[in-house]
Structures are given as structure tokens and as C-alpha cells.
Amino acid sequence: GDQVEQSPSALSLHEGTDSALRCNFTTTMRSVQWFRQNSRGSLISLFYLASGTKENGRLKSAFDSKERRYSTLHIRDAQLEDSGTYFCAAGGIASSSFSKLVFGQGTSLSVVP
């Protein structure tokens, strides 16, 4: 079936540094959504993209508009509160009318002083 490959699986960053997470899709997708799961287990929606890029504070996400087969999440000036597990979820095969979201395995991010 369709798969979402998320990388890296784990990441440790020092405060103030930048990094990027990536999701590759095995087929063309209509949309991508990024979540952060906090220490209490809640899934917080960060971005929803059908194309292009979106930015919110120190976070920026991009969805490859040409082939629609990968997305990135950039974290700038990492802070301790950015720690958590980040998931991407790809939605909607471009040729179908309804398709389930497919989740990546997550990136466990730890920001250290």
C-alpha cells in the first residue's frame, strides 16, 4: 500500500540551532499535514498544505508542488518547547475521490540546552 517514509526517526538539537524533517511518499499525494505530539500525547496540528509553503513563527513547511512526493518541516532557532514527536500525514491520492490519510512513523525530537 501507499507509504510515508519519515526521516530522521530521532533527532537531538541544541537550543538555537536549525534543522529539517522530511517525509517522502511512495506515490503522488494531494495534501500533507504535520503534527506535533506533546508529552501528554495530544496531537497538535502544525500545518496543512495542498501545495507550496506555509510558515508559522519558527516553523516552516513545504510541499513539493511538482511531483507531490515529499514534504519538509523546517525548525529555526530550536527551543526546548519544540521537543516532541513530529508526524507527517499524506492525504488523497491525486487520482482518487476519497483516500485515507497515511501517517509516517514519526520523528522524535529532543532539544537540549
Binding site: S97, S99, Q105
Partner: protein
Amino acid sequence: EAAVTQSPRNKVAVTGGKVTLSCNQTNNHNNMYWYRQDTGHGLRLIHYSYGAGSTEKGDIPDGYKASRPSQENFSLILELATPSQTSVYFCASGDRGGSERLFFGHGTKLSVL
């Protein structure tokens, strides 16, 4: 922001018992979903629904039933709970057929002893 409320937040059940997890959404979304999250598997789709009266099998439906009696409510039913169903369960809603932005509840932690 869409409001998706799950109950209970925590549940301990005995093997062979019946468990019902409830989900309510107040944004009038057509689509609702039940996922489970396990270490090493990310989020996996159990059942979903297009609207009141409809239920569809997701990727891992065995051992689960679903019920969508109204637009607002979507339940997940474990008729004969087993220890392998110990997990965290998430409900979500969305409104555009698989490629839409999803809004998640806070999750239900189920332990089957």
C-alpha cells in the same frame, strides 16, 4: 478550531469484556476516523465514516466495530476486548474526503488486562 472530544480519557478493561469508546465533534464535519497508536507503528486507521449511518473498514478493522448514529458522534466498539488491543486511540474529523485537514481528539488510553 474544530472541537473533537473523546471519552473516556483512560479505560481499564478485562479480557473478553465489551468496551465502547465515544467521540463527539461539533464542527459539522462529514468524515470521522478512528486510529490507534502503538510504538513502532505510528497511527493506523481502524474505521472511518462518511456521515451519519455509514461506517467503513480502515486498514486494521479486525476486532473492532464502529457506529455513526449522527453527524456528531462516532463510536468504536470492542465486543470482546483482548490484551493486544491495549493502545492509545484517537478520533478525528474532517470535511473533504481524505485529503482534508484532520482535527484530532486528545486520545483515549485503553489497557486490557
